[in-house]
């Protein structure tokens, strides 16, 4: 199968080419939204993740073609834009926090699958750890790329990832017990 030139897709999308936009959306939307959810979870605003990603991609359309052509790797670049968009959204959210009523999380029908539960457990991690995990697994980025997106040293990204994996190990061990759901808050877990 012929490899898709994602930069070309971006350029075409920025010119308003519908099929390229559709393809790019299919390629990246779910991963970008998972990443946005991990950031927005800190404010319980995961339900806005799709909006945030759509806003981010609309911003991408405003980027001049010559700048898009200079993008080295499309994936990390898109994650960086979504991160900025999510952080901007969170700043706005904080201002509106008092008058906003959160929608109930998890509006999908039926019981969540074990994978869905694991994704939620990732969202419950401290956000700095959750974003590393989602960038690694949802985004498929290397530690070098993760450190580039988050503007942190590679070693910091790796240690955050290790901490997150350790928390998830504990979480999964406890899930095997009939206990209440685990919640991670500010880097510390609630005692059972």
């Amino acid at each position: 199968m012929k490899a898709i030139d994602e930069r070309k897709l971006l350029v075409r999308m920025s010119h308003g080419h519908g099929p390229s936009a559709r393809l790019l959306w299919d390629l990246y939307a779910a991963r970008l939204i998972a990443f946005a959810r991990s950031l927005l979870a800190a404010q319980g605003a995961q339900q806005h993740a799709e909006d945030v990603v759509q806003i981010a991609l609309c911003k991408v359309m405003q980027v001049p073609t010559h700048r898009i052509r200079k993008v080295q790797a499309v994936g990390p670049w898109l994650f960086t834009i979504v991160r900025t968009s999510a952080l901007n959204h969170m700043r706005g959210e904080r201002r509106e926090m008092k008058r906003r009523v959160h929608a109930a999380p998890g509006t999908d029908m039926g019981p969540p699958s074990s994978f869905e539960l694991l994704r939620r457990a990732v969202e419950d991690l401290p956000s700095d750890e959750a974003e590393v995990v989602t960038l690694r697994h949802a985004g498929g980025l290397t530690f070098d790329q993760v450190s580039e997106v988050l503007a942190i040293p590679r070693s910091t990204a790796a240690s955050r990832y290790s901490r997150a994996i350790e928390r998830l190990r504990e979480h999964l061990a406890e899930q095997e017990e009939p206990s209440q759901p685990l919640k991670f808050v500010e880097g510390k877990r609630h005692a059972k």
Binding site: M13, H15, G16, H17, G18, A21, R22, W25, A29, A30, R31, I33, A34, E50, D51, V53, Q54, L57, C58, M61, D108, S113, F115, E116, L118, R119, V122, V133, T134, R136, H137, A138, I165, E166, L168, R169, E170, L172, A173, E174, E176, E177
Partner: protein, 102 residues
Amino acid sequence: MPSKPTQDEVVRLLDGAYDSSRMPSYTGSEFLAEVQAKALSGWLIRGAVVVGAAILIALGVIGYKVATSPPALPDESPTLGDPGGGQSPTRVGDRALMLNGD
């Protein structure tokens, strides 16, 4: 006491959880509508440029034709200032003779 999964197991589970086939699908309707709007505006701009260029070319062609066309023939009917109604061949001949001094 339940056993903790190993790090490798957690990593494998995460890979599975974020596998594209297991991820929820999203419509992205607003974004795709935005793309369509951009495409439409692009076509409108291109259309306006083409129409504008066509108008300019047409005006140029008309202007050129007007500038290069021969002047309109003088009216043959006699006028008040020139009862003869323009120069007759005879009168032109007379004037030529006068100029030659013969």
